[in-house]
Amino acid sequence: MTPAPVTMAEGRAIPLQGHDIDTDRIIPARFLKSISFTGLGNHVFADDRAAAGGCHPFDRPEHQGARILVVNRNFGCGSSREHAPQSLRRWGIAAVIGESFAEIFASNCLALGMPCLRGETEAVEDIQQLVQEQPGVHFRLTLAAPGLHGLDRHWPLMIESGPQTMLLSGCWDATGLLLSHGDELRRTASRLPYLNNFAPSG
């Protein structure tokens, strides 16, 4: 099974302002009580949305169907729960732009083929403001030359070469690639002292 390359994301954007938004807020723990990820899209930001009484960006009619989430600093910190990107994905998010991301969250997104791109604070705030004023704008996010395009404007974005290559090549679904190195895996195991009874080499 070869996963599809991820080269771009297209559609409307949804701004979510605030720093340090943790994965407990993205998907509260009670929704993790399931042996599948099915249905998580309905519960994304459940408590924040309830507290906002219908005014949360994920509830606003103008953002329904949006594909590109725009966040601020350290998004996705805290718990390693993959349920967080799964719930965003199942709500309809295809890519995330932010000032910065928590590490486990970003690697979970990568494992789902969902790009996380970073932008300078000014660029991210600019995009958020633009989307608030004109929620209907159609954007195009590109990965080969990382950037966001819309309204005849362009915002340069950043992504590390590792995730970028994995996404563009389709290797973001890493299992096949990892398994293709059977000999190397065996060699690595053979040199790990704790897998070989700490025997000194001869």
């Binding site: 605030g18 720093h19 340090d20 943790d22 407990d24 807020r25 509260p28 723990a29 009670r30 993790l32 009580k33 042996i35 599948s36 990820f37 309830a50 600093r73 350290n74 910190c77 805290g78 718990s79 390693s80 729960r81 993959e82 910065s100 991301f101 928590a102 590490e103 486990i104 690697s107 979970n108 494992a111 789902l112 590390e160 590792g162 970028q164 290559t165 994995m166 090549s169 290797c171 890493a174 299992t175 690639l177 990892l178 190397e184 895996l185 065996r186 690595t188 195991a189 053979s190 040199r191 790990l192 002292p193 704790y194 070989n196 009874n197 700490f198 025997a199 000194p200 080499s201 001869g202």
Partner: protein
């Protein structure tokens, strides 16, 4: 499957070389240095790291220089991947009921097997009730998750420490106490607090469910190498000040995203003087600073802890292991990407006042006002004042508390319970206070009961529960109600974290939680231990 029963403890089937040949077994594998790795070099902060020498040649240190992180990374490097990521071998994989079922489903969907079933160990912790453990569990969803884990472990021949094993508990408590977590290993688990195992000089980090699938299938992960920041804490912690306070102090000073892209090496005389359980508390909280892994260089304290643990090496292998473990410590000339130094004497009992672990303060300070905070932190502070219903400039001491929780992978070990019991002994929880103690594992519970700690807590009005994650993340029936405010020895004070969408959490040490429980309000535990209170900073 013909695995030894986890109940039979002397026989640890993770022991090296004990496994009989089976598909993909390592048995009989020649111990030769792969040629392609000879002279294989990579740039590190400390220069060129070479694997010129089989790194565990007895009596010899590896010729490579660098940090422990560099050495462990190099040893576990399987291949370079397109785009510059590294395929990293995972030496120990820990799983639990919440983040594994979907991974097993993905394996089945793709018809994949488990490459090294002997290197994955399971327990049940997140959803388990801490009172009635009769099967089926009262909560059908919890029962389904536990049932799925049991079924998957039986199907794939994975060792599971369930209720009947006598070793069930929080995954980050049981792996160390079984001696599974060892220096020089790479350890992964679908839980962010996997950083805990770094206390042993392992490179341990949390992963998501899809990565759990990858580890099950390939015993490896695609990873980017981290930078290393050394955090040296010098001096001694004052009486009444604990590893938890040091952790909260570090996060408060460096911030919750400081560690992104970094491994945190904890060093300095304060850390060297810490017992293993204290080091586990410190490394556990590395993720709350944004660092996916934190570690301490292994030393005699670590080796003494591991000696004779069920899954630690034995006999001749023990001394060889110690020799190898010693060789892994960061070299004196290792170059760090960043260094931070702190004075342990400046650390007071620390309490969080906000909605991130970085929003912390000394118990004798006042809640910071916006003008005391960097401009970038003020919006989050405003959100925290509102959510926590605390006013800037108000003292945190004296704040009434509704619920007191002692437990979690941060502070649910025997020494934590002893610290709390010292405060609880001869006192009683305040009127109307709900206070409960959840040991981190069945082994912790047995040890605590053997020295009468359960009775101390019971006499003081605390409930004594069965082991699990409990109200740290409230996936079981232990939850806050409404706006209740908890004093908690856990690791996260996020909005809604403890089971009520509007519930509030103050993080602190177990002794501080016990002090809050008996006085009904946030209290400086130093006043109860007869310790001298440090002068308040102007």
């Amino acid at each position: 499957m013909d695995w030894p029963d986890p109940n039979t403890h002397g026989d640890c089937r993770l022991d090296h070389g004990q496994r009989e040949a089976r598909a993909d077994s390592l048995a009989g594998m020649p111990l030769i240095l792969p040629e392609r790795l000879v002279g294989d070099v990579e740039r590190t902060g400390s220069g060129v790291l070479g694997l010129q020498q089989f790194p565990f040649t007895a009596g010899l240190s590896p010729l490579s220089t660098g940090t422990l992180y560099d050495k462990v990374w190099a040893l576990h490097r399987v291949a370079e991947l397109p785009g510059g990521q590294t395929q990293l071998f995972i030496g120990l994989h820990l799983i639990h009921e919440v983040t594994s079922p979907q991974a097993f489903a993905m394996l089945k969907e793709r018809g994949l097997s488990i490459r090294h079933p002997e290197r994955t160990v399971a327990t049940v912790d997140h959803i388990v009730p801490t009172t009635d453990r009769g099967r089926p569990l009262a909560d059908p969803l919890a029962e389904a998750m536990l049932g799925a884990l049991e079924k998957n472990c039986a199907h794939y021949g994975l060792r599971l420490y369930g209720f009947d094993s006598g070793q069930q508990g929080i995954v980050h408590v049981i792996a160390p106490e079984l001696g599974l977590s060892q220096p020089g290993m790479t350890i992964a688990c679908g839980d962010s607090h996997t950083s805990t195992h770094g206390a042993f000089g392992a490179i341990a980090f949390g992963i998501g469910t899809t990565q759990v699938r990858d580890v099950l299938a390939s015993q490896s992960l695609a990873m980017d190498k981290l930078k290393v920041r050394r955090i040296s804490i010098h001096g001694a912690l004052a009486p009444g000040v604990f590893a938890k306070d040091a952790a909260l102090h570090v996060i408060r000073r460096l911030g919750v995203k400081s560690g992104v892209g970094h491994a945190y090496e904890f060093a300095g005389s304060c850390v060297a003087a810490m017992a293993m359980e204290e080091r586990m508390t410190l490394c556990n909280m590395a993720i709350e600073a944004g660092a996916r892994c934190g570690y301490v260089n292994p030393d005699q304290v670590c080796f003494d802890y591991l000696h004779n643990r069920p899954c630690a090496p034995r006999g001749a292998a023990w001394q060889q292991a110690v020799t190898w473990w010693r060789s892994l410590t960061s070299d004196g000339d290792a170059v760090y990407d960043d260094e931070v130094t702190m004075d342990a004497g400046e650390i007071a009992p620390t309490v969080t006042w906000g909605i991130t672990p970085g929003q912390a303060m000394a118990v004798d300070e006042v809640v910071p006002t916006p003008d005391q905070l960097p401009a970038g932190e003020r919006p989050l502070a405003q959100e925290a004042y509102r959510y926590m219903d605390l006013q800037p400039g108000q003292p945190i001491a004296g704040t009434p508390v509704d619920v007191c929780f002692i437990g979690s992978c941060t502070n649910g070990r025997l020494s934590d319970l002893r610290d709390a019991a010292l405060v609880a002994r001869g006192r009683h929880v305040a009127d109307g206070m709900k206070a409960f103690v959840v040991p981190g594992s069945q082994q912790v519970a047995r040890a605590a009961e053997a020295e009468g700690l359960d009775a101390v807590f019971a006499q003081a009005g605390f409930e004594w529960r069965r082991p699990g994650c409990s109200m740290c993340l409230a996936m079981n029936p232990d939850r806050l109600q409404g706006r209740q405010l908890s004093a908690s020895s856990s690791n996260r004070n996020f909005k809604g974290r403890q089971g009520s969408a509007s519930g509030r959490t103050l993080l602190m040490s177990p002794a501080m939680v016990a002090a809050a429980a008996v006085s009904g309000v946030v209290t400086d535990v130093r006043t109860m231990l007869g310790a001298t209170t440090a002068p308040v900073e102007p």
